[in-house]
Point group: D3
Chain length 313, copies 6
């Protein structure tokens, strides 16, 4: 039985060294990133059996994406196609005044991923399914696939976790809210960034009432509100309890994927049966580890994450 | 007055080091290439005032393309747009058994370049106009633009040079022949690779009759037949004369752009008023220099090219 | 059901760029290599479900080895331990006059791998088991484990393939012959390099009688004799048939793992039900691909291997 | 008509990676820098048609300098010579305790640049001429050329801008003051660092009276006083108005060229007809962008600079 | 006559770039480090004639270690052997949350270094002998060799300096205390980190009484207590005097070897006849220089160290 | 007693990667080269105690040169000065059609090296003194110093070896001949390249009579004539004997310093008391090793050289 199954898009990102620009850099380093693949990588780092499902062109770029995720310990279930591109992006990572990302994702193979491209058995047998809001926002087809997926998981008793990730979808707030309303009924775990809650639902007050409001709206057992601002603290609500967990201190070498590392660490903690507070700490420590690493996905082992938890306590 | 004006697409190419593959390489070097930009760079290296005209997205990738060409000494006349992509490609350069190129050019901004995007004055004032067959093969719009361009150049007395470059267009031979028939009437200088002549016109005999046949077909003063096979010899026909020029010896570090370097060197020689034979030697020496360099465009100076001609004579 | 299971040691190899020496190089590239892991990687490249079983220290070096093999598409079954080292080597790859390898493998965790460290079910369920002579030569424990492994595979009906690889074992010929005699009874597929056959069995004549002699000695259905000299041709004997297959031409960028790529490609061909001759060609094409790549394991896809076969036929 | 013409020396700088020293570094990155070329690059980044005039040896080093500046969007007008060197420097960029620069500029070709080497038409047709104090301090010939240049520009109605840049000239304060007194009569725009004002004119009080004092001394319409200390604030005086503009926050990856980026951004703002305050902000935002980039010249676009202005307001 | 002789182990360390991990890094930089070799390098940087004595395998790794130390200006006296390994380590340098070092030193050739492997004349003729606690903790043989060495140096009138460096030895406190008690009688200069004093001797109060206590225990003229915490201040006791010297400010790019750079700079200051306070400042400035450099040993010159002292005074 | 002392200039060379040009390369690797330092490095590699004497500026560049030579095992005796530059060169190493070297050596500190800058004792105590023709050709001062040096060595009984190296001196043949006539009286070992013998002395026949002619002219016991053409064979004449030694086969990765490696290996062989033929083979094997390495000086050990001799015999 799989611990965690995720479904979504992964992008091959090319980045110059810090201090160089896309316009003049001699060399570009390649990393693979995407909300669902990053979450799977973080969970695998913490020892979970994690699977990422997607659709890719059968090219060297497609194989690169799969190979890199496998190296992160993620199992991959990919439908190979001769139609559609691999998503690419050219990214100046953190810290340049006016840092630039040129995303180049139109026409990606994943846009046409239907329910026929999903191995249903893997989803049914999984403990938890994770999808982010970036996936249904990519195409009408993916929206339908996501809807079907959440329904199928629910029927099989697979826990459903969803992260809104509104900001990078390019959707307008009204469209996003409709999309979430369509998908999120009965989701068990909802992760929302404070800024998303403000933009999409007009919830601009304190994070605790924000969490309560969303829990009520979607009737989900667990809501986590993250703060993308410099504090990076998170607040979790489950049952009657509310926990606020501050970030662990760590130099930020590359902000890419830090939020996803939190999500993956948190889901891994939940899967291990840790209580909410402990799972949030697992997430925060995984995020701290990621923050010091260049690339979108966290690299290391459960021991690294536990060492961070020890150090900071 | 501009010496040479070229119009076409340039692609940002990312290549791993020799011996690495796209699947696993840590670093990718970036180079800009395209038939027309390579030809302009070669001509500029030989001292010509060369201009490249195109259409690009106003992104860091678009600026990268322009900056690299400027560094090669090419002046650029670019229409900046917010629609369309920059063409990219991921290229394992020469020598890997089963070497791979993943071209990623669909939806490039240049596909929508119309005559309104061409600064007509620059074309009228130029000594020579160069376009390759890759440009009209890219889109119906570019085919129309190319047709208009050749006509406008002809009216202005600008010498028109055309290189078929059939192989990489992806066209079928019949379509290609129709396309060439539509464009090549009254072109003054025609460059055709032996393999193209075979595939498109069924001219599979000796290169001299091939050249004569094409000269007759399109009524052009000068025809150059190149050989992409290992000999890389070229044959030029002009007036009554026929010249065969062997390649200069040089290690092949990167085959990309070698043919274009020949064309640029040859056109530069013609422009300088050298006789056909001398111009072919200029082309061959420029190609030899390119062959030893990594990247699509030749780098150096007229002195380098002349040193090669000296050394080998 | 697994297609191919391999058991052995993998070494983390650090290599300076070509032209640099260990004494002065600024940077070292890391690659993972080992006969069994290289064979598994080659088979996975050709589409087999291949597993590598071993024992590693639970350190970043151990995880590096596993991650790199996963990236090659190999599934890994590793016993993690806190005792013993990860094998390392410092290798000047090909072409330096007096090129040096400093192997540093004493005390490796794998030396203590017993039958209790082998997941017997994986071996039983596999189509083919592959081990090289390097494994039993590493320690008395590994010799016993190998013996048990071949016996268990035989009982389960798993095809057993063995590659002598005498030269790098450091054994003297008599000890090696005794070791092989102890292990090879009833092995179905035996791969022997011509030089090994000479050194260990005194078979220094033509490769065909050498093959026959070994087939008789060990009563195995298939024998392949390879030639490590510049010809790299291979001869296969199966049933009444004898096939000689020449190498495909390819530049040698890194000789490491070329032999193993042949073995992996050959075993993949056999697994697919190709006839002997075709399987040998698969091996030879895989070896040609490897030869052009830096690193111990082949990278690419079945399409690459087939493109080489097409090109050269 | 050219927007900005600059005249001076550019140096090819070789720098080890941060944390490496010249004594032991394996690799050196090359960048081109010089006050006038940096100012031209910054102005070109902001969309001006900027020209740099100089004298260089006709070597690969000379061509490197020109190619790099062209890539920054600068047009170049260079007198090529076979006498004299290209200036080089070996620079440990920022942050090493005891960081070292080995300048190697004696005998540079530019030292012999006379008025005959200046294309007078370009200067006459330009909107603004910029020279720094580094140029006349390099040689007696360059002092005479600078004097002639400022006079010629004045006669043509070209606005003259001058940046003292005393500290790196190696002049003693008295010589510098005489040099400035000889050159600066009737300059329209004067940029002085606070530390220069102190060292050369004994103006060690507040920057506003310093600015007034210099404005009176040289009867120039606009004076900008910069602060090289950590505040990097600037004060501009024009007509009756005084503006103080604080720096935009940005990590300092490489301090080289930050002052010049300010000057180029400021002159671009002035050229666009922005008021003094706005032009100072343009300068400050351009400096902030440069600060985050490795290399002497700013890279990017007007959009980057405007994004910084937006972000910080 | 040699100024400083040191005896101990040096390790070849392989490190990924900051932000990369051992698990995934493409390239590893190599540096040589060890307490005694680092101290010798620091002293040589400050102009002393410093010698490092050790035992190494006659391999490329052994020669690498010697070559790198020679480049640092250290003379080397090495017994070459065919038995035993070169020590290696794989080090993620500073700043990664959960940064990892995989030390791989068992079976190093130096473990078997006896008094017969020490050129006694070099020790007798030296002004000062330095050994750290890491050396006698490596093996019983090295403990005996160290004991003999200190005795021999004492008989020859060579000043003996010892740095406890308990933390990385892996010893338990009781064993360490016994070891120090056995070795340190009559040592003239003792360097102890505050944390060592606490762990080994239970001296957890203020550093001054800690210093006095150790001075009394071992009857040594000079005791320096260092603080490995962020303050990095040092306190020196000699005769009746007590000096506290704060660290010089400098960015920490790589913490490796900073303590050793202090010791080398301090011993160089003592050797030059500087008073205690001045020698401590030399040590602190050398440590500040090291802190900004990647690698274990300081690189530069006496001028660099003096520039730091000037700047900060 | 020193085995070999050499006196001359060393240059810090910056080279782009193969396939890159000085005009566009992102990174430059640094190596130290010079005829005398290369010869010393080769001799040290073969186990000799070799010293290089020179004069350098006390800058990071000067220290770099010394550090690199020490790493090669060469002892250095350098007069440090604040006047004069370090020699630099920018070199495209081998294989580029029209490869370029921009030498930048005017005003080097070594040009002013007088006999007062030479530690006479070191020369007197040496077994052999080596100088190349490049040294006296650099300046009138160095010519006088060389003359004095050869005389002093002769008086002390130190064997004098001289390599003409005419081609790169830039001298005209007549001046060179006068210079050699002034210096070479009584030199014991003379090395001359065939091309030099032709250009300077008009000896364009077979190498054996060329060798005899020069032996007679300068009355020297040993003459070695090398062939810089592709054969790289050498002919040695000593007493009545004549030996011709072919080159060992090896890929040429970098031709720089191959001749010097031969000279160093040959002198090392002579020093060890090998007969002429054996010493020539030592030289040829050392040259073969160098040929495969990037950089000016050979790296490795006597074992490497002996392995090459074994392999090829």
């Amino acid at each position: 039985m799989t611990d965690l199954v995720t479904v979504g898009e992964a992008t091959l990102r090319f980045s110059p060294q810090r201090g160089d620009r896309i316009e003049t850099a001699g060399e570009f380093a390649a990393h693979v990133g995407g909300p669902e693949s990053n979450v799977a990588a973080a969970a695998a780092t913490l020892g979970l059996d994690a699977v990422w499902l997607s659709k890719l062109p059968e090219t060297a770029l497609g194989r690169r994406i799969v190979g890199d995720l496998r190296r992160h310990g993620v199992r991959t279930g990919v439908v190979w196609t001769d139609d559609g591109r691999a998503s690419t992006a050219f990214v100046e990572r953190g810290g340049t005044a006016g840092a630039t990302t040129v995303a180049d994702r139109d026409g990606a193979a994943v846009e046409t991923m239907t329910e026929d491209d999903v191995p249903l058995g893997v989803v049914r047998d999984a403990d938890t399914l994770f999808v982010s809001g970036a996936t249904p926002a990519r195409s009408e087809t993916l929206l339908e696939t996501t809807e079907w997926l959440l329904k199928a998981a629910g029927e099989a008793g697979t826990t459903r976790a969803f992260d809104t990730r509104f900001v990078k979808t390019g959707l307008d707030p009204d469209t996003a809210r409709e999309l979430y309303d369509r998908l999120l009924d009965d989701v068990e775990v909802l992760i929302v960034d404070e800024a998303d809650a403000d933009a999409v639902y007009g919830l601009d007050g304190d994070v605790v009432p924000t969490g309560h409001s969303l829990r009520t709206r979607y009737d989900c057992g667990t809501v986590v509100v993250t703060r993308a601002d410099s504090s990076h603290a998170v607040v979790g609500l489950a049952g009657e309890s509310i926990y606020e967990v501050p970030p662990f201190e760590a130099e930020t070498r590359d902000p890419a994927g830090v939020h996803d590392a939190f999500v993956g660490g948190f889901l891994a903690g939940c899967h291990r049966g840790r209580d909410m507070r402990d799972a949030l700490y697992d997430g925060a420590a995984t995020a701290a580890l990621k923050r010091t690493l260049v690339g979108d996905a966290v690299v290391g082992s459960r021991r690294d994450v536990e060492a961070i938890r020890e150090r900071e306590k």
